[in-house]
């Protein structure tokens, strides 16, 4: 399987071209074509999972072709322990979100074409090992997202879409300057990430610090870290369900992935100095801030959005700890949050499709009306809470154990937020599902087969990883340990 990563990235593009050629009125044909297009990447992802060499820390399934020789830009892709989990997550969520998009009625062809383009761009970001290629895929995500939020979104979709676009573009252009500076710092000039990583000792201190901050701002906007987070509640709430899932499940992880792949590996000295403030303290603040904001929300989707900010804070704290537990917990949290938050947004979509609002106070006693839905939501909510036995507990505990060794106070702050998280989740559960049945919704239809189909794989993963996280931890431990060693040796 020589070109597996190329297939995974470009099959959606081929699917997009096919979808664009179909007649606009053939909605079912378009939907099924698009859905079938996401199956090969999923199967290839499963193959990757089976055949990934867990003992090797370097890049596997590498492909290396010249693209623009005059600038030394190459088509260079590969995966290692850091990116494999994200590649698997992208393939899975893209497949499931196809079915979550079944309810789209307006301009169906455009929607699915843009979705497939987005899919290809996301996969490309995680597999790119040439900085220019990485940047191209990173920017390529923005255009489909703008249209997907702006055309098929909620009442304030235009505002949310342009805010997302402007914010992310501002971060990306700083990344462009940083990547050009890195390019010119090497002789011969190169965008090859492996070479830039290997040359990490040659960058001067000021150079590292300035570049680290420039790149960090770009990635922090994506995570999103306070104070660059204000685009997230708007974008998540206004986007259609499937796009919210993709946004929360995958796009947010790109920020932390970028920090690991670029900031940690290429600029380790600056990482060592700035990690406490930029990652540790900011991460702990994210955890508490996100939880407090979530507690104050009346809109269910906005509550889930703020809980995303809170959970991503754990990732930041774990990365800052420079311990094996911390960093593995961080990447595991990236994967877990992807699955859990995907479930949460899908579940919010279920109730929104039926009741056409997301007002928490407007529901009540849904447990007796939709018992199966309540069960699945209960599972998702408890996973978000970090209940032992479900996947998020393992990653949060690993992060806290790792961070305790270095920053006990920040860990205490982060751990205390668990109570806040439990607070808003249980309170929401009580207001929406328990208590007196709201007469308006006494006859809501139960969760449908299609919706269950999108949730079931995620639920299975959440439960399995709660008991046997080794399945995922094995994938990442070799690469993460070597990355950790790299940063520790530069401290």
């Amino acid at each position: 399987m020589e070109h597996i990563l190329t297939y995974m990235t470009f099959i959606p593009i081929a699917g997009m071209v096919v979808v664009l050629c179909l007649p606009s009125a053939a909605h079912n044909l378009i939907k099924w074509t698009a859905a079938i297009t996401t199956v090969p990447p999923l199967l290839l992802a499963i193959w990757l999972f089976v055949n990934f060499d867990r003992t090797q820390a370097g890049f596997q399934f590498v492909e290396h072709h010249a693209w623009i020789p005059s600038f030394n830009i190459e088509y260079f892709v590969g995966v290692d322990g850091i990116s494999i989990t994200m590649v698997l997550l992208t393939a899975l969520l893209s497949f499931l979100c196809m079915f979550a998009s079944w309810g789209i009625e307006k301009a169906v062809k455009g929607y699915f074409a843009l979705f497939l383009l987005l899919d290809a761009a996301m996969m490309g970001v995680f597999v790119s090992l040439d900085f220019f290629l990485f940047y191209i895929f990173w920017e390529l995500m923005l255009l489909p997202m703008y249209f997907l939020i702006g055309i098929w979104g909620g009442p304030r979709r235009e505002y949310a879409a342009i805010k997302f676009f402007l914010y992310t573009l501002a971060g990306s252009v700083l990344m462009l300057l940083a990547l050009l500076a890195l390019y010119f710092s090497q002789t011969p000039h190169t965008f090859d990430m492996t070479k830039l990583i290997a040359a990490h000792a040659t960058y001067s201190h000021t150079f590292q610090t300035v570049l680290w901050l420039a790149l960090f701002i770009g990635f922090a906007i994506k995570i999103p870290a306070f104070p660059f987070h204000t685009w997230l509640p708007d974008a998540h709430v206004e986007a259609p369900t499937a796009i919210s899932v993709i946004l929360a499940g995958i796009l947010l992880k790109m920020g932390t992935y970028g920090i690991l792949r670029i900031n940690f590996a290429m600029l380790p000295v600056a990482t060592g100095e700035l990690a406490f403030y930029c990652l540790g303290a900011l991460g702990a603040f994210n955890i508490v801030y996100g939880a407090l904001c979530a507690m104050a929300q009346k809109d269910l989707k906005k509550l889930v959005a703020y809980s995303s900010i809170s959970h991503m804070g754990y990732v930041m704290l774990g990365m800052a700890s420079f311990t094996p537990q911390g960093i593995q917990g961080a990447v595991l949290q990236m994967f877990n949050h992807g699955t859990v938050t995907a479930m949460l947004f899908l579940l919010v979509g279920v109730i929104y499709d039926r009741a056409h609002h997301r007002d928490i106070e407007g529901f009540g006693g849904l447990a007796s009306v939709m018992p199966l839905y309540t069960g699945v939501t209960g599972l998702a909510f408890f996973a978000a809470l970090g209940l032992p036995g479900l996947s998020a507990f393992i990653s949060e505990v690993l992060v806290l154990i790792g961070a305790w060794q270095r920053y006990p106070i920040l860990t205490a702050i982060g751990a205390s937020a668990v109570i806040l998280t439990a607070g808003y989740i249980l309170w929401t559960l009580q207001r929406v599902f328990l208590g007196k049945v709201n007469e308006k919704y006494a006859t809501l239809p139960e969760i449908s087969g299609r919706e269950l189909f999108t949730l079931a794989p995620l639920a299975v993963i959440v439960v399995i990883l709660g008991f046997y996280p080794k399945v995922v931890l094995d994938l990442m431990s070799a690469s993460l340990d070597s990355l950790n060693q790299l940063v520790l040796s530069s401290l």
Binding site: I136, L140, F147, I151, R157, E158, L176, L177
Partner: protein
């Protein structure tokens, strides 16, 4: 080698063909009643001229007409751009509803004359020739912007252009007279020798350079010589606006590069250029570049008329191109040349869509584009989105590659603050470009707008330019190689 007038004739076949085209159009105007044929005649003549230019591509460099005009790859590169711009403008004029009536003969004749003037601007090697060609292009542009006879905005545009252009060229010729006085010659090579080896007063040279910059700055619509641009772009007929924004601007840049680089600077061995020490024109142009970008982008934020918005965006793009100008390296110049090709594709495309919508609905304001994608105008809406996002500089479109080369040249020479201002301006520009895209796609029509139809004639050019914009976003190697080969100034 330096040739006298008789032997130079073989080298100016493209110019001769243009002159013959102009004469043919004027003569045919007397007999032909269907004036569109004149446009087709002009198109054919310009195409022949383009062929002649490309056939001259490999021939050895020479000075022509007793060193008034130079023949080198740099001139050929720009002549190709001018010919393509003229062909696009003629094509657009043939498909436009504004260019009708009995005066079309003069219109097409003047359009081709303007192109002829641009040819000489790119190949001037004498101050007098530079001035004459610049004036020639300006005069023809004044008349062309006022082409719409009974349209007040068009007349206002022409008058403003004339007055502003007159002042600017007056300032420029004054500066040129100082240069002549300081160096004793109007020939670029001799000016260079006199400045590099002699000892002219630094302040005097600086003042002369600043005054000369006024004329060039006006042509490329750089701040503070930009004020004519919004009114002229809005008032002129759309094909002329497109022609001015691409052809005239490229001509201004060509002449600017030729005067400031081979004439006023000295090339080093490693691709960098040194200017006369003490004459700090790169610092001055650096500030102008930053101010131009920022003012262009900030002013565009509040525009409601699409032509005016594109005018301010054009001013901002002049600022981006000036970034490549200040870094004093071959990479910067190459980036500028590449950007001009990319800019041609994007800008002509954007104005073409404006023309298509204006043809159907008569509206040029942003509200007239409301829900364009949902009322039969999906093709122009998608094309416009491609052109506007390319102008912002988003991958994988051609505009990103152009900006990438510019930023690479800037970062290479370590002008970090300039690069930061440049990228932040790109983000600002996204806001107003996205506003147009939003109106086309995210807003829905309320039924009162006129339907939009695209004629085959206009549609062909639109699809061609959109395809080129997308293809150049992923595969641009031939163009950059051409720019590389063309970056040679003949200095004898």
């Amino acid at each position: 080698m330096s040739l006298d007038s008789v032997h130079s004739l073989g080298y100016i076949l493209p110019e001769i063909l243009l002159v013959l085209t102009i004469l043919a159009v004027f003569i045919a105007d007397l007999v032909v009643t269907e004036k569109e044929r004149l446009g087709e005649l002009a198109l054919a003549g310009t195409a022949l001229s383009l062929l002649a230019v490309s056939r001259l591509a490999g021939t050895p460099d020479a000075w022509l007409f007793s060193k008034m005009v130079v023949h080198d790859p740099f001139a050929i590169f720009f002549k190709v751009i001018f010919a393509l711009a003229a062909m696009a403008a003629i094509w657009m004029s043939l498909g436009s509803k504004e260019i009708k009536g009995p005066n079309q003969g003069e219109y097409y004749g003047l359009l081709v004359s303007s192109t002829l003037g641009m040819y000489f601007m790119a190949s001037a090697s004498n101050l007098l020739m530079a001035y004459l060609s610049l004036e020639f292009v300006s005069l023809t542009s004044y008349v062309l912007s006022g082409y719409l006879r009974h349209n007040r905005r068009s007349g206002e545009a022409a008058l403003k252009y004339l007055i502003y252009g007159g002042v600017a060229s007056g300032t420029m010729i004054y500066g040129m007279s100082w240069l002549f006085g300081l160096t004793g010659s109007m020939d670029f090579a001799q000016i260079n020798a006199a400045l590099m080896q002699g000892d002219p007063g630094k302040l005097a040279v600086f003042i002369a350079v600043v005054l000369t910059l006024a004329g060039f700055g006006y042509k490329i619509s750089a701040v503070p010589f930009h004020m004519w641009a919004p009114d002229v772009y809005t008032g002129a007929p759309i094909p002329i606006t497109a022609f001015l924004s691409v052809g005239s601007k490229s001509a201004g840049f060509a002449l600017l590069m030729r005067v400031f680089y081979p004439a006023l600077s000295h090339a080093g061995a490693d691709g960098s250029w040194q200017f006369l020490p003490g004459v700090d024109w790169p610092q001055l142009v650096l500030v102008l570049s930053m101010v131009t970008m920022t003012l262009g982008n900030l002013s565009a934020l509040s525009q409601r008329n699409l032509k005016r918005l594109l005018a301010y965006s054009s001013i901002a793009h002049a600022g981006y191109m000036l970034m490549g100008f200040v870094v004093l390296s071959n990479e910067g110049l190459r980036a500028m040349m590449f950007y001009m090709v990319v800019y041609y594709l994007m800008n002509i495309g954007a104005f073409l869509v404006v023309m298509i919508v204006a043809n159907s609905t008569g509206r040029e304001d942003i509200d007239g584009y409301r829900g364009l994608a949902w009322r039969g105008g999906a093709a122009p809406a998608v094309a416009m989105a491609i052109f506007l996002f390319s102008l912002t500089g988003l991958p994988p479109l051609a505009g990103f590659v152009g900006k990438f080369y510019l930023f690479a040249a800037v970062i290479r020479q370590q002008f970090y603050f300039l690069a930061l201002v440049g990228v932040l301006n790109s983000v600002i520009s996204l806001y107003y470009y996205a506003r147009v895209v939003r109106t086309m796609f995210l807003d829905f029509p309320d039924g009162s707008e006129a339907p939009v139809t695209v004629s085959l004639h206009n549609g062909a050019l639109m699809w061609g330019l959109s395809a080129a914009t997308i293809v150049m976003g992923v595969y641009w190697a031939p163009v950059i190689a051409l720019a590389d080969r063309s970056l040679q100034f003949f200095k004898g």
